[in-house]
């Protein structure tokens, strides 16, 4: 790949990320409460997916590497699930 093709490709993805950032800021001023959080996290997750799949080259990665990456996020989901399960099942303070 030539240098100008590389720069063009990186610039396109960067502009996409910046565009999503702008939408995120705008949405925070229009939406209230729960929907605001859901939209913000959905945009952040999309941005993260772009970075991980494209910029971190997960599309080209060997299976073992993809497994290591997936393991990190699976353990994160376990952490969050168990934390919220703990909080949700606590009896109210007397």
């Amino acid at each position: 790949m030539k240098a100008n093709e590389i720069v063009r490709r990186a610039a396109a993805w960067t502009l996409a990320l910046l565009g999503m950032f702008a939408v995120s800021v705008a949405a925070a001023h229009w939406l209230h409460g729960g929907p605001a959080l859901v939209v913000a996290m959905a945009i952040a997750t999309t941005q993260a997916a772009f970075v991980i799949i494209v910029l971190m080259d997960q599309r080209r990665a060997p299976a073992a590497t993809r497994f290591a990456a997936a393991a990190g996020f699976i353990w994160l989901l376990l952490l969050l699930a168990l934390t919220f399960a703990d909080v949700a099942t606590r009896a109210p303070a007397s």
Partner: protein, 211 residues
């Protein structure tokens, strides 16, 4: 002054590159869980004290946070240019892109320092007697703000140091930069620091903005 790309115990550069990438991802997976614990704590407290978090979130400087987000997202772009140029065996574009990444990272830290100074001036420290809100959860929000942004800044500083060292070694022609997977591993770390900020920004800077 060896710039040999192949190191023991690897038989060929392909396996060495795969090992570098795999090893970095195992480390990044641990970083995801490390930051995840802080995000989990934030989520619990925000769920329990939404009003305090919303009121406290309005005191965070959205302009400076936005500038930092733009700097960091752009730095991911320049770091990608560096990694892809290295793969294509383009030395000068790799070095220029690394230098740009370094400058953007330093810019982030500079803006962060300015923001911290401003925050302290406004008494936005959880233990400050002149903290601007007595709502339950407001001080907790700022406890998470200071903890999570400072830990992120430390990680970014490590990335900046690694980029600087790589740039100097490339300049001195002492780095096996285009065959060993070095730039790719460096880029993986940098992008993860960006991913962390991608989630930090809405949770710390976009709370309570519609109030």
């Amino acid at each position: 002054m060896s710039t040999g790309a192949l190191h023991e115990p690897f038989e060929d550069l392909g396996r060495q590159r795969d090992a570098a990438e795999f090893g970095m991802w195992v480390f990044l997976a641990s970083e995801v869980v490390f930051f995840g614990a802080m995000f989990a704590g934030y989520a619990v407290y925000r769920h329990q004290r939404p009003e305090g978090f919303a009121v406290a979130g309005q005191h965070v400087d959205l302009v400076l946070g936005s500038i930092n987000t733009i700097l960091l997202l752009t730095s991911s772009g320049t770091m990608s240019v560096a990694a892809w140029s290295a793969r294509a065996n383009l030395r000068q574009p790799t070095m220029i892109a690394l230098a740009a990444t370094l400058l953007l990272g330093l810019g982030f830290l500079g803006v962060k320092a300015l923001e911290y100074q401003q925050d302290l001036h406004e008494h936005l420290w959880p233990g400050d007697p002149m903290f601007p809100s007595d709502l339950p959860g407001a001080r907790s929000f700022f406890a998470f703000y200071w903890l999570m942004t400072s830990v992120h800044a430390i990680h970014l500083s490590i990335g900046i140091a690694a980029v600087s060292i790589t740039l100097v070694r490339m300049r001195l022609r002492r780095a096996a930069w285009h065959r060993s997977g070095l730039l790719h591993a460096l880029a993986l770390y940098w992008h993860l620091v960006d991913v962390i900020w991608i989630f930090l920004f809405p949770l710390l800077y976009l709370v309570g903005r519609s109030a």
